[in-house]
Symmetry: C2
Subunit: 378 residues, 2 copies
């Protein structure tokens, strides 16, 4: 995990942080009420559990106590609450959070350090040394300021490292190539297209639904073309819309949604084309067709593998971990540098206030009520 300080912003003192973010008197955790196989998850599927505020114990060498300021709600969490998906009724939900260190028994951390982590959705919690070793945890001190702690679950967290790794190391753009990206106005898609445009001079075609999102990707993110998939009734219509934007085909497709987008991208993919599979939100709310605990719905796409030989095409799935952890690339320093330079726009964030509204934020991902990254400010 990356535990170096950045140099773009001065550190904050613990006193300043506590004044800005008062320490909670009760520990609150988002918990699952029951499995949900099919359909859109909402507030009725989650509850808030309460408990005493934890403290560090003297024998807890390496442990830290953290206060969570921002929690993430991400589409991939939908898979975990299906039967067999990993979560059971009553379980704490967990995912990406950002916040700061309140107390430390670790030489790697000092009180006031900004931190990003994958952990339980609990507002105040101890991260033991053992827990730190097993999960994703990264230091954000110097990479952002207290006003922008939400970036720790966005551009400087999972979505940022997903965009960074998926574009740079999976798709491997060449200067001037054409990139197609779905969920283009989202937390990941918005970054993918902007890094491709500003760092690789790519032509970028973004798919997202509606004029409002279309205006964001064209005017704010400076993408070259908007494909409005909501105006496309079927695969042929989407293919025709992409053809208008990219008449000579595409070199890369960054897949965030699955379904007909994949088919259309595959049919437009040029020789030596690459597809990075990042997400598949189109399928997440479908019923699992098998009862054997399979995590994702078996909604199949089809490919002509014979046609991939002469064209030397590649399809590759990936997750952010190697880049978020610093094992590959220089995610935190590169992204913070671009952010500091104003190289491109920070994708939209839709904020929900209070841990009690985590479920409402999560729901918005599937109803399209959000714009960009959904953040719950605790």
């Amino acid at each position: 995990m990356s535990i170096n300080n950045g140099t773009y912003f001065p550190p904050a003192s613990l006193d300043e942080l506590i004044e800005k973010f008062p320490t909670p008197s009760v520990a609150k955790t988002v918990r699952l009420i029951d499995y949900l196989d099919e359909g859109v998850p909402g507030p009725e599927h989650f509850t808030i559990g309460e408990g005493p505020v934890p403290t560090l114990t003297p024998d807890g060498d390496g442990d830290i106590l953290i206060q969570v300021v921002a929690m993430s709600a991400d589409p991939y969490l939908r898979v975990g609450i299906k039967p067999g998906g990993g979560k059971n009724p009553g379980d704490a939900m967990n995912g990406f959070v950002s916040g700061f260190v309140l107390a430390s028994n670790s030489e790697k951390w000092i009180p006031g350090d900004f931190v990003g982590a994958s952990t339980d959705f609990t507002n105040i919690q101890v991260l033991t040394k053992a827990a730190q070793a097993k999960t994703a945890i990264w230091k954000l001190t110097g990479f952002l300021d207290a006003e922008h702690l939400s970036y720790g679950v966005g551009i400087l967290g999972m979505p940022g490292s997903t965009a960074y790794g998926g574009l740079i190391d999976v798709l491997k753009p060449n200067k001037g190539e054409t990139l197609f990206v779905s969920a283009a106005c989202g937390a990941v898609g918005g970054l993918v297209g902007q890094i491709a445009k500003t760092q690789y001079n790519c032509k970028v075609v973004g798919s997202c639904g509606g004029d409002e999102k279309g205006a964001i990707i064209l005017d704010k993110f400076k993408f070259d073309h908007h494909v409005d998939y909501k105006k496309c009734d079927d695969e042929a219509a989407l293919a025709a819309a992409l053809k208008v934007a990219a008449p000579d085909g595409i070199d890369m497709y960054f897949e965030n949604v699955g379904g007909m987008h994949f088919q259309v991208a595959m049919s437009a993919l040029r020789p030596k084309g690459r597809i990075a599979i990042c997400g598949c939100i189109a399928n997440y709310n479908n019923a699992s067709a098998s009862a054997d605990g399979q995590q994702t719905s078996p909604v199949f796409n089809h490919i002509n593998i014979g046609a991939m030989i002469y064209s030397a095409q590649r399809i590759e799935g990936f997750m952010c971990r190697p880049w978020l952890s610093g094992q590959k690339g220089n995610f935190l320093s590169d992204m913070a540098k671009w952010l500091h330079e104003g190289a491109f726009a920070v994708p939209e964030e839709t904020h929900f206030q209070g841990i009690e509204n985590w479920a409402a934020g999560f729901q918005s991902l599937f109803t399209g009520a959000n714009k960009g990254k959904v953040v719950i400010m605790v």
Copy 2:
């Protein structure tokens, strides 16, 4: 293209070669009679055209005259004779050949040099400087002897470089991983599995049809398991047979056939698994479903792209050219070294005698009458 001499075998003199391979008095070329969309190609679909023996012209700077000793018959040629596949009635067939230089106006070649090339299936022919620049052509001098010129269309040619590049640079084996390879007794598959076993200590499961081929891959190639696909009536039966051989799944699949093999491999593929798409012979004799000149039959496989994300799996098509040309890796020297060391067995070769029997050799690829590499000794 690779034009360095090897050091494993002494060069031959032109006189020795001409004594062993008398210079033909007529130039003969394999020609296509008519398109064949569906079904197995055979001798009735090809004819031999005759013409005068060509010579070098004084102004042909860089040109060489070559005598072909061995011609290849490869499954991929089936695609070219479909309507719209590239060949028209009367056209010369072309593909991989090996032979030696009879006369040279090029400083890169001397008479007696062994040569491999992708060119017309003509027994004696001029390769102009321009033709050499456009095609695959590589020097075999020092990498083999006159007794084994057929290796130039096998282990030291297209099949060898396909196995080498596809395994080493596309699949990227880690020590001890499990590899599944189809057409395991073939010119490519036999090498893939042996390189994986001897150089990467992989567990190798090979699929091929019948006890005779099974004995070859187990006894001669030292593969760990034989899956007899001819005993598997459907995908479920093939999956069960693979499960017996590799109960914990596979890390890599080298795809030579397509169809149900791909589905079975995909369902057995472990996290971080890779599939290299090399060939798709199961589809080549099917009718093209579209009349728009599409080269390969659109026989679709299906994939669950959502499941590829968490598992970080990859599917990649490739062709041999970068490795055959020396642009990537060290194919010729590595393979000749392994051959010289006796690191593994040379895959079977089935020889057909005389250019007139090229079509019979080609047909044998689709009837299973061949074992390993089909070579037409001209």
